[in-house]
């Protein structure tokens, strides 16, 4: 059980880091997603890896550590899942906008060896009047 969880976390992190370091935004987003899965598993297992135990007190079951699983990591992992999910949505939107504006899926906004397109200078941030 521990071995299965540990190796799952390890494989997910390895894949996530590899994808995160690639130069295409799509790969980067997949990498971030894999990393967040790995993190969720890790937090989930930080309580203790047990099977079939309830996280809340039950009648007739003495309140001892061996009869229950730790409820806190479950709450933490819920928070982490929600935040990671929202962040993935944000980064997808940013990546799509980046692709549409720069006409390239490269993380630098332009293909290596080619200058960035000159069409969109960032006039709005400069505060200069729009043409």
């Amino acid at each position: 059980m521990e071995f299965a969880i540990a190796s799952a976390v390890g494989v997910l992190v390895a894949g996530g880091v590899y994808l995160l370091l690639r130069a295409r935004t799509f790969d980067v987003i997949l990498g971030l997603t894999l990393l967040s899965y790995a993190t969720n598993l890790l937090i989930f297992s930080s309580g203790r890896a047990v099977v079939g135990m309830p996280p809340v007190l039950r009648e007739g079951l003495p309140a001892l550590a061996e009869n229950y699983t730790d409820p806190l990591p479950q709450a933490l992992v819920l928070t982490a899942i929600v935040i990671a999910f929202a962040m993935t949505a944000v980064v997808v939107v940013v990546a799509m906008r980046n692709h549409a504006d720069m006409r390239s899926d490269h993380v630098d906004g332009h293909e290596p060896g080619r200058p960035p397109p000159d069409a969109h200078t960032d006039a709005d941030a400069d505060g200069s009047p729009r043409a």
Partner: protein, 516 residues
Amino acid sequence: MMQHLLLVPIVLPLLSGAILLLLERRHKVRVLRVASGVSLLLLLAATLTLLARAADGGIEVYLLGDWPSRLGIVLMFDRLSALMVTTTTLLAIPALMYASAGWDRRALHFHALFQFQLAGLNGAFLTGDIFNLFVFFEVMLIASYGLLLSGARGERISAGMHYVVFNIAASTLFLIALGLIYGLLGTLNMAELAVRLREVAPEDVALVRAACGLLLVVFCAKAALLPMYLWLPETYARAPAAVAALFVILTKVGLYAVLRTGTLMFGEEAGPLAGFGREAMLAFGLVTMLQASLGVVGALRLRISAAYLVLMSSGMLFIAFGLALPGSIAAGLYYLPHSCFGAAAMFLIAHIVQRERAAVGDRVQPMAPPMPCLTGFLYLLVAVSLIGLPPLSGFIGKFLLLAAVPAQDTALVYATVLGSSLLALIGLTRTGTRLFWRTEEDENEDEGGQPAPAAVAAKVGRLEFAATGLLIGYGIAMTLAAGPILRYTTATAAQLLSPGDYVQEVRGTTPRMREP
């Protein structure tokens, strides 16, 4: 009733952000500005009351949901939290003023996002639970993505992409560290962690070190320490001026977390982890400072040099907190608000310059006709203050820090701090003379000799100058009131370096209405 005042800096911006979201559908931007401003003034009143209460030296603990501190989430505030919250609010006022001069029309949901950003910042400064710190970091970051990217096109989206991806990766690392810490120590309350770190079993020490190291790496990444700052100059230089001015405090959140965990969890009593990471922070802080001053010299645009000045102050504060002496922390805490106000003012000035010289923007090259005197004068004041020349606040901060350096570190620290200040002096002087004094035509010829009317200089409003002036005014006030402020920061350093009281206070606070 008064004990609930602690919640105001978090709840008030959250509520007003939500109300602003409702208002913005039906009302003109003028209504939003007034509502946002009123909320900020109420926040200022609350934080000043908190500051006055913290100055007495008490540590207040607020049990959320009335659960005992080892079970539930606690909020707490002491002198350090009060100082940080006050700095945030003071910085937010000119940023909002500047944005209200026109930027807020262009950015969708600007006022609501601004308030959510403040809620996240204040929450991060007031929480006593490390997972809650993560949540407030996220609130703050999500609002910052919105502020940075709303209304953005092209290059700013690209810079924003780097910023978002970097911060999500850092947050993931934060979660990994938290998972490990909870698995090893069984708690996420900072005071409780401090106690349990003292009695770590010897066979766990290596793992605990790894987890705490990850935590520090995350905080240093937020504070833009050396290898992890590469995203910062581009992002800050591309952000709209008012947003960049507010973002200056985001790096300070990382520094706050480093200082809080460093003194509370890795203090003298921490057993195997005493002084964890301090030498590394000192060393990386020195290199960051040097690197950033080279960036100031090499910057081709005023905004880029402003971003490097933010980095320089980060390096400086890492030196102060890495030394972890009463004197150096006190000096660092004086330097922290000063550098926030100074760097924010620099971003605003860069934007003013950019619009007054529509043809070349804030690029460091001369143009005719010369700039108005007022802008140049403001630039001079900010530059003097940030470099650390007398008589302004930067000088006092740097002088006190250098005075607090212990004898065995003087050679390295003096050489770096003074050397990088000299480099910054050279860089900012060159920028200033080229922007404000020299008016040569011939250097513009390579632009194709385009006629000047191609771009009409935008008019800079009075409100924008007032915002910049207010930031500079803070700096001058800090210089004049240096005595009382330093007494406060010295007391803060003393409080931080005796974490026993804090731990006692958190563990000793019992629920009011609930039987534990």
